[in-house]
């Protein structure tokens, strides 16, 4: 920063030193900058405006009757929650949300462990392949999802044509129209876009493990699998934990992959709770808000579990 004017008069070299100690030793004058508020103010304002206020609005909306043009028609009490819990689709949606989150996160971690190990090795072209791994991360997730949607298109999809030409399927199929086939494809895309971040986190973790540990293990006659299980994995635990939790939250909240590929359809057969809340918005804004509140509760629960687990981590480290 160029503006270098001092806030307070600083003793300057050319200033004659105080001759007599007649003046009381000067305490620094309290300026605006010494109050804590200007420093934490922006953070507080940000939290209030971006976090607390929307949460308040969300909860309030869930207790209102709102017309489709957005006019409030009165208080609904807990009616919207009752309506939400009476939705015939809700059970299946929550079930699929759980399966979706666990499958995507599990597969992502497994694949990333392998990929991270691979990229940790020295091989010609490693730098290029490491860059290439960033691609799914750098591209917009919605764009990736829509790209896959068209690749799987019933009549024009390139993947459909390829699968047929390779003799893997008997003819073009409507992959995304049937939940039984749409779900695996969506999981695949979600794993694809989660891999780069997870792999890089684990790779960073691998790089912190000192080489001496491995040397010692070799000297003691440990085989590769044993080394991996007894040395690499335990030392990788902090990185693994970060990757796990961030992925859990990310995948649980994942909207673009599902919306881009099936919009949660047919009906709500491929919708997670987040997408379901969005679907409900078309029919009842209050009920949609109620779903969001429930979703928010689930996320808070997830975060609490994380805090608890990471505390375990500290205890272990001691």
């Amino acid at each position: 920063m160029t503006a270098s004017t001092a806030v307070r008069p600083q003793p300057r070299a050319d200033e004659p030193p105080p001759a007599r100690p007649r003046r009381r030793p000067r305490r620094p004058r309290r300026s605006l900058a010494d109050h804590p508020l200007p420093w934490i103010g922006p953070a507080i304002a940000l939290i209030v405006l971006v976090v607390l206020w929307p949460v308040y609005e969300m909860v309030r909306t869930s207790t209102l009757r709102i017309s489709t043009s957005g006019f409030v028609r009165g208080d609904a009490g807990l009616d919207k929650y009752r309506k939400l819990f009476a939705e015939p689709d809700l059970g299946a949606v929550i079930g699929w949300t759980l399966v979706w989150t666990l499958t995507v996160v599990g597969l992502t971690l497994l694949l990333s462990l392998g990929l991270a190990q691979l990229f940790h090795q020295d091989f010609p072209g490693r730098r290029i392949t490491r860059w290439a791994l960033i691609a799914p991360w750098a591209a917009s997730v919605l764009m990736t999802a829509i790209g896959f949607k068209w690749m799987l298109d019933r009549t024009a999809g390139v993947l459909n044509t390829a699968l047929t030409d390779l003799g893997l399927t008997s003819g073009p199929r409507d992959w995304l129209g049937d939940p039984a086939t749409a779900r695996p494809w969506m999981v695949l895309v979600a794993v694809f876009v989660s891999l780069p971040f997870t792999t890089y986190t684990l790779l960073a973790g691998l790089q912190t493990i000192p080489a001496e540990v491995y040397e010692a293990a070799t000297v003691d006659g440990s085989g590769p699998w044993q080394t991996y299980r007894r040395i690499t994995l335990p030392l990788l635990r902090p990185a693994l934990l970060v990757a796990l939790v961030i992925n859990l939250i990310n995948v649980f909240n994942s909207f673009p992959v599902i919306w881009g590929m099936t919009q949660g359809g047919p009906d709500s057969d491929t919708a997670t709770t987040t997408v379901f809340a969005y679907q409900l918005m078309n029919t009842d804004i209050g009920e949609s808000a109620a779903m969001s509140v429930v979703n928010f509760g689930l996320i808070v629960l997830l975060v609490l579990v994380f805090l608890k687990v990471s505390r375990f981590q500290e205890d272990d480290a001691r």
């Binding site: 103010g41 922006p42 489709t68 009906d267 709500s268």
Partner: protein, 420 residues
């Protein structure tokens, strides 16, 4: 970095956050003598945007009425609902709005009655079936603006190859024709049944009409799970979906897919509206148009769709609005708009002109259908919510148990009707 600059930037950030929270206030309150018109854009590119049309009408109107100015805002279809909602909520209410639905505004008591803003002659000129569709509880609020009707399209070449001599007129004949197409012309969808979220409510209503059913009964109560409707979906499932005579997953197939398939010569039959004519011509498809097959024979009525004009009473510009609407609904203006976008008229004089001029041969099968068109229960203020429910889950009725799916929908519709 020293402290003053830090303090300043911290304070600045605070200020910026506070300010940004209250920006976006109303813009340009309409003074007296200024009419605000918000209209949907029917064009698909800058050169044929509706903005050009409305600006022309507004300038011509201002020339005749120098004391009134018209402020035209044209918004594309994707954003217009949100745009209007924002205007209403910020108290920046337009005087006139031309868009897809009106009933929710009636429920919030925002609109003038049609009688209050239309002269007797303009009102009498509206085709009856459309004027009726603009009524809420017997009073007309919605003023029809343009319309469209459905008819049965078929690909002549495919039917000829399949050995179907004449287009089907009943459900049984649709099935028979579809079976021949499946056997003789592989790679073509025999009947395109789009029950996906784009317009499930339209396709299902057309089929229900064929069985004497429909979303509501004569007195306006919802009958989504009536015997006729359950039977209709049962028939579709057993005769078109299960034997593979249509898409594998109708509930996930949108109308635009069906239209695109037909225009590419990949679908043999479907229910379409006039915009499909242009698409079929561009795709060089030799198509035919006929009455929609019902269960026992061709349907005498069809599903009509209209877009609406409505007048808001918030600014009290009743006289100015009446003058403008009389001007805008004059034959030369409505005719220009309908011809510009190949849409169907809602006024009698324009219909006569288009039918008589011989310039609209393609539209002729549709003109005949207009007076007998039936509509969604548009005047029911709960229809928007019910229609959204049908769009979301109506399509599963041809895959799962129709009675269960329609029963769930009926329950939701009754709840929505009670909640309005």
């Amino acid at each position: 970095m020293n402290r003053r600059t830090l303090t300043l930037s911290a304070a600045g950030l605070c200020l910026a956050l506070t300010l940004s929270a209250c920006s976006g206030a109303s813009s340009g309150d309409a003074g007296d003598g200024t009419l605000t018109l918000v209209a949907a854009d029917y064009g698909d590119k800058a050169s044929n945007s509706s903005k050009g049309y409305w600006d022309g009408v507004a300038r011509a109107f201002e020339k005749e009425n120098p004391d009134i100015t018209v402020d035209v805002q044209v918004v594309n279809w994707n954003d217009i609902d949100k745009h209007v909602r924002t205007m209403l909520q910020s108290g920046n209410v337009p005087d006139l709005l031309q868009t897809g639905g009106y009933a929710d505004k009636v429920a919030d008591d925002l609109l003038y009655k049609a009688d209050e803003v239309l002269s007797v002659s303009t009102k009498a000129n509206l085709i009856d079936s459309f004027a009726k569709a603009g009524e809420v509880d017997g009073t007309q609020y919605g003023i029809p603006f343009v319309s469209s009707a459905r008819a049965f399209f078929y690909n002549k070449e495919i039917l000829r190859k399949a050995g179907v001599a004449k287009p089907p007129t009943s459900w049984a004949e649709v099935r028979a024709a579809a079976e021949k197409v499946k056997a003789e012309v592989p790679g073509v969808t025999p009947y395109a049944l789009p029950l996906g979220p784009e317009e499930a409510q339209g396709e299902s209503m057309i089929w229900q009409l064929g069985n004497g059913g429909g979303p509501t009964n004569g007195s306006g109560a919802y009958t989504l799970d009536s015997k006729a409707n359950v039977e209709t979906f049962g028939w579709l499932r057993k005769n078109l979906v299960d034997p593979g005579l249509t898409y594998a997953n109708p509930a996930a197939t949108d109308r635009k897919t069906a239209f695109a398939d037909f225009a590419a010569g990949k679908a043999a039959m479907l229910n379409g509206h006039p915009s499909l004519i242009e698409m079929a011509k561009e795709g060089k498809v030799d198509y035919g148009v006929t009455a929609i097959p019902g269960k026992g024979g061709p349907l005498k009525s069809t599903l009509g769709v209209a877009d609406w004009m409505m007048a808001f009473k918030d600014n009290g510009h009743r006289e100015e609005i009446r003058k403008f609407l009389d001007f805008a609904y004059a034959k030369e203006n409505t005719l220009a708009f309908d011809e510009r976008y190949n849409l169907m008229p809602v006024t009698q004089d324009t219909l006569d002109e288009m039918q008589g001029s011989g310039r609209h041969k393609d539209l002729e099968p549709f003109f005949a259908l207009l007076p007998s068109a039936v509509f969604y229960p548009l005047g029911d203020t709960s229809w928007d919510a019910v229609s959204a429910e049908i769009k979301k889950s109506g399509g599963s009725a041809v895959k799962d148990d129709p009675a269960a799916v329609l029963g769930d929908l009926q329950k939701k519709a009754e709840a929505a009707a009670a909640d309005r």
